[in-house]
Symmetry: C2
Subunit: 215 residues, 2 copies
């Protein structure tokens, strides 16, 4: 079932501010503990599809490593977190940045600004056995062939076991849920008609794990 | 499927500040358009169950009418909204109020403060044919036998068709999704061991549509 997380999963839990350089580029403060927001699964659009940018929205790309949950759990401890992972996926956490600035000022929820249909472009399921170490991956995003984001999952502030422990201390993680682990620096606008591509590879060997493309 | 929304639905979309008296009691401003947040379906607990209050959390009850979506849709117009409704359910939108005050000040998401396991106590599915008019219902909540909330769905700022139009202008509503329509005034703390009961009835006839009980 986890391999079919796009159609069968129930929630996307997305971590904010998990790379120092990204925290700085948006003039935010480095969090003392992880925080997250929920995106609806209706926001998925699969590679090859189109990112719809609503009128009046300044939409930003955030390339992120997604973790697909394989075994449900609550209060999962860091040491056990690995056994709850079925695999991974490359994702973009699209964000209505202008709306987000407004709701942050007003203390309002982020659900709409993160939750538009097609605001979670997503690649194929990557089985965990293909990934020697999820914290040693290169991750990048290009707009119209130009690099905008080039990061390493080694630079996460909170690593994946810590994220799973934190989220599952609040809510049960279910099979097929996707955990988005935050974005490295370089976020910026996507305009209608832009070609958005992204990739994920093993740092040591350059082996490609995922490649995504959207228009 | 919609009758099994508790086990099969994918998201809960909860409207904030939809009754004037509740807006005032929390010193908030009346919104010019609806806003919402997403709760995970892992927060459901069925009547007869227990509301778990995490250590350090000041948990508030918010009794709300839930609308169960029967037919999926995006950009649903007010005039068509009714055809997307399969039925209703009585729900409590539990809120970690102390944590909510903190995240509002910091401009952070509401997902954790609204999303703990058991933070959406829920009654049985009520078919739409049992409800003559969803805007003419009495709704109440008691703690240990004492009334805390007594409202009427007639007092919603934005009515159900308007809410469905707004949410579906941002994200697709799917069969089994639950739309929480906001709470009337009287919100307040639930302590461990409290008996929490709630009811929903037709205003004109006093016919009971739902009765829920939690410990
Ligand atoms: Mg939120
Ligand atoms: Mg992000
Ligand atoms: Mg509420």
């Amino acid at each position: 079932m986890a391999a079919n997380f796009i159609s069968r999963g129930k929630k996307i839990v997305a971590i904010g501010r998990n790379y120092v350089d990204h925290v700085k580029e948006l003039n935010n403060t480095v969090p003392k503990e992880p925080f997250f927001f929920i995106k609806p699964t209706t926001s998925y659009v699969q590679s090859g599809g189109k990112i719809e940018i609503p009128r009046g929205v300044l939409a930003h790309h955030e390339i992120e490593l997604g973790v697909v949950i394989g075994k449900p759990g609550r209060d999962i401890q860091e040491a056990q977190a690995d056994s709850h992972i079925a695999g991974y996926a490359l994702a973009i956490d699209m964000t209505a940045r202008n709306m987000q600035e407004a709701v942050k000022k007003k203390g309002l929820p982020w659900s709409a600004v993160k939750g538009f249909d097609t605001f979670t472009p997503i690649g194929s399921f990557i089985s965990r056995s293909s990934v020697p170490d999820p914290h040693k991956l290169d991750i990048w995003l290009k707009i119209n062939g130009q690099f905008k984001q080039r990061g390493s999952t080694a630079d996460m502030i909170f690593n994946i076991p810590k994220l799973i422990q934190h989220v599952s201390s609040i809510m049960t993680l279910e099979e097929g849920d996707l955990l988005l682990t935050g974005t490295p620096s370089g976020v910026g606008p996507v305009s209608p008609g832009d070609e958005v591509t992204g990739g994920l590879s093993v740092a040591e060997t350059n082996e490609e794990l995922a490649s995504i493309k959207f228009t």
